[in-house]
Amino acid sequence: MADAVLTLRPPLIEGNKSIAQVTHDVCAPMEARPTSLWWAALAVSSSLLLLGVVAIAYQVAVGVGTWGLNRTVGWAFDITNFVFWIGIGHAGTLISAILFLFRQRWRTSVNRAAEAMTIFAVMCAGIFPVIHTGRPWFAYWLIPYPNTRGSLWVNFRSPLVWDFFAISTYFTVSAMFWFIGLLPDLATIRDRATAKWRRKLAGLLSLGWNGSYRAWQRYEVVYLMLAGLGTPLVISVHTIVSWDFATSVLPGWHATLFPPYFVAGAIFSGMAMVLTLMIIARKLMRLEDYITVRHIDRMSKLVILTSGIVGLSYGTEFFTALYSGSPYEQFIFLNRALGPMFWAYWTMVSCNVFIPQLLWFRKVRASVPAVFAISIFVNVGMWFERFVIIVTSLSRDFLPSNWFHYAPTRVEIATLLGSFGLFFTLFLLFCRFVPVIAVAEVKGVLKYGLTHGKSHAEAVHE
């Protein structure tokens, strides 16, 4: 099978797996008892989640006054976390939708987990605007429904309403996309399950999927449609998030650069988070043959690309501000780099622009611990990016008598930690109960490289 002539490209999956082996490798860990490492990780993440639940209950009961906000800095930690989490989600859609349209078949090993990450990140993100409303029990007022308040409609001119529509659409579409991808794998789980409850549950969720090609044909069409819709959707979501800022008149926010800058930043941060999670998951679930060093290498290259775009954006906004002739714009940017929050600005630049440059070296990309460390730096840096944008612009605006500083309270920090707790708890549960690798898609690329371009039968017959 593996003729020397035909082995032109390295295969995507290592270990020369058979189709049945793929099913087994992915499904067996779910059927075995969880490892102690998994329990330890779940203990940590669920403790953080509990901390977050307590913090949110406290701030909802007492009020938003428990935060470090003041009249000058009205947005800070909460909105930073919101933008951070939404951004994380975007890499999942990049991998599942955009790379699908670009026919990047290596994505099959990582797309399931990346899409799960998207869904969990959007859930984390969704918490923050809801508690930021101050009265989360009225959050449903965001929905334009006929009501007894005279039928007072939402203000469709407001970017915050756009945001509500963008995020809820994004969540719905991502969840459906994920489920559609999962459908054949749920059928595989159903048909190999020995435990009755597992067969019942997978049977219910797999909707009677039986691998019939009449369904496969439409499945592929729907998958393509969702990828085609998901691609502009993901760009629109972060564009709209950036408009939350850009449609205001505040120096440092009011920039036409914001949409592309935010979209690139979102994909950059999400790619780093995908790397973080994949490196953990391949160790935890022993999937080194599926998520290979080559996969990590390709994702690292995407990190360099987006890091470059983000770096260019930092430079462009700085230059535009200095060149604008507006003293307020000029001041805001000099204040970011040299003012009291200079440390946050330079953390952002170092983590997002300088450190990722190490990935230009093949040796660094080939070293899993190095890539893992860099991905953590990028995660930190991208959180600081949002913090810098939000807090520095607000804390020193047009009138010096308005100027005030901001420091987070314990409640805010606990809420941030809680969102990480929610994210990792959900991800760990996902690793246990859902096939981490898209089984049906990986089976399709097993021979990739060996008989690339034409089927083996054709290659032999000619």
Binding site: P159, S206, G208, W209
Partner: protein, 176 residues
């Protein structure tokens, strides 16, 4: 009325594709093909008509976008016009983002729902596999014995020549 089927079970996609092509060339009625993953080229080999789902998706997208523009216009300019920062009541450019989102939502939900509907997939549906393993590592080509031209023994030889691991005659009720 019962129908008679012949099921050829294969181990890889190349043999399956070849079996489909041969069966089609010889004019057999291919009831269906079962595969653990989407194999490139099966729909051409089977001669399936292209799916019409994209049209449904397109129509629903247009419908969703259209409805949303109308709704935004109706709420902000007709039902209860409110002066927000001196902006015109009919602020069409500001309606673009939400219109886009709702268009995508309609198209995507419509795509998925119509996919389930057309394929007859619903929660709790009993799955009917022609042979066990088609969701794991087996490929199955199901032919129907329609007329006397169909010689089961000969077809069996044809399948076995393509390394079929199993050839099975099945009798099914109306609708497989």
């Amino acid at each position: 009325m019962s129908r008679r089927f012949l099921v050829g079970v294969f181990e890889n996609e190349q043999d399956t594709l070849e079996a489909i092509r041969l069966s089609r060339r010889r004019g057999f009625n291919i009831v269906d093909v079962y595969a653990p993953y989407a194999v490139h080229g099966v729909e051409e080999a089977m001669g399936l008509a292209p799916s019409r789902l994209p049209w449904i998706v397109f129509a629903l997208g247009v419908l969703g976008g259209g409805l949303k523009v109308w709704f935004e216009f109706w709420t902000t300019a007709i039902d209860w016009p409110i002066n927000v920062g001196g902006k015109p009541f009919n602020s069409l450019p500001a309606f673009v983002p939400v219109t886009f989102e709702v268009m995508v939502l309609f198209a995507a939900v419509g795509a998925v729902v119509s996919f389930f509907f057309v394929c007859g997939l619903y929660p709790g549906k009993r799955s009917v596999l022609p042979v066990p393993g088609v969701t794991d590592n087996r490929f199955a080509v199901v032919l129907e014995e329609t007329d006397s031209r169909f010689e089961p023994a000969e077809v069996q030889r044809m399948f076995e020549g393509l390394h079929a691991v199993q050839v099975e005659a099945q009798i099914g009720e109306e609708g497989d």
